[in-house]
């Protein structure tokens, strides 16, 4: 009797839970140092961020947003980076095969804040907007790191030409 009612609650809850995670958002742990100092400033303590799926439902991202995306090198891995340039912008790259890149239509240029310790568009080039999964809005754990993540671009990484 108990088993049946537990089973029924489970069956009831799973589709709603999964749909909520897919449509609204979820909390994820950040691994790695590529977004220091904004995320994971001390490598031992990992930040947990709230990733909003709702914010990217129509693929409207702004320059400076921190987003999670499917890695172009490995579709099973999600990476978290900052959007530095949108379609039409021209960026000066750090270590890419071309010194200047004009971001094509439907793509964006993402970079990790921790220059030199990040695998980003400077390695794999412009990223198709379809790979973007969610936008990181807040750090939710640990409590002394509670903050809202701002959309700001480091001065030296602004695109050299911005599309209107």
């Amino acid at each position: 009797m108990l088993f049946r009612s537990l089973f029924k609650s489970f069956l009831f809850g799973v589709p709603i839970g999964v749909t909520f995670l897919d449509s609204v958002g979820y909390v994820a742990r950040v691994e790695g140092i590529s977004m220091q100092p904004v995320l994971n400033p001390e490598s031992q303590n990992k930040d947990y961020v709230f990733l909003s799926r709702w914010s990217v439902s129509d693929y409207q991202v702004n320059r400076g947003d921190i987003i999670s995306l499917v890695s172009p090198k490995n579709p099973n891995q999600m990476i978290i980076k900052r959007v530095v340039a949108l379609e039409g912008d021209v960026v000066s790259t750090l270590g890419y095969k071309n010194k200047y890149v004009r971001v094509p239509e439907g793509y964006c240029w993402v970079e990790g804040d921790h220059t030199g310790h990040t695998l980003d568009s400077n390695t794999f080039g412009p990223v198709s907007l379809g790979l973007i999964s969610a936008k990181a809005l807040y750090i939710v754990w640990p409590p002394d790191r509670w903050q809202s993540l701002e959309a700001k671009l480091p001065e030296n990484r602004k695109p050299i030409s911005v599309a209107v």
Partner: protein, 154 residues
């Protein structure tokens, strides 16, 4: 005349609708769905306004093979979907896209081509497509009814 039974019934109905919507979402995302394909790029295998059944299980498990017909988000416009055949897996050598002669498909990407070579915008134009954009694998055509069939390898 009283409000309370009405509220009780209304919330039960809302609950059912919500539950159905969520189950539908889960099936469409994780199991499979029907898609309407338009355009000439996969002729003669598929014709415009065919309805196809696609499954979303093999792409998630990375079990796609050369020759599979897949649906994916368009690399140049995430709001559009494309339906093409995988003609190159990572490591394969393919006749590259302009201006290169030939290239190797990089890790984590696939090379897509439409069966109608002369009239298809595919990897020959926009390059290798990251596997993260792939949504589903076409299993069979369900409409028009007189053309229902499993779609075999090229």
């Amino acid at each position: 005349m009283s409000v309370r039974p009405f509220l009780g019934k209304a919330s039960a109905v809302i609950g059912y609708v919500l539950q159905t919507a969520c189950i539908t979402h889960c099936i469409i995302e994780y199991v499979g769905d029907f898609v309407l394909c338009t355009g000439p790029s996969m002729e003669p295998t598929l014709e415009t306004n065919n309805i196809l059944f696609t499954e979303h299980i093999t792409p998630r498990l990375q079990r796609l093979r050369r020759g599979d017909i897949i649906t994916a988000k368009c690399p140049t416009d995430p709001k559009q979907n494309i339906c093409k055949r995988i003609t190159g897996l990572p490591g394969d050598k393919v006749k590259g896209y302009f201006p290169r002669g030939s290239q190797v498909v990089p890790r984590g990407h696939v090379w897509l081509e439409g069966d109608n070579s002369d009239n298809s915008k595919d990897s020959r134009m926009y390059g290798p497509v990251p596997q993260g954009l792939i949504r589903g694998r076409v299993v069979c055509r369900v409409w028009p009814l007189n053309k229902m069939s499993f779609l075999t390898e090229h």
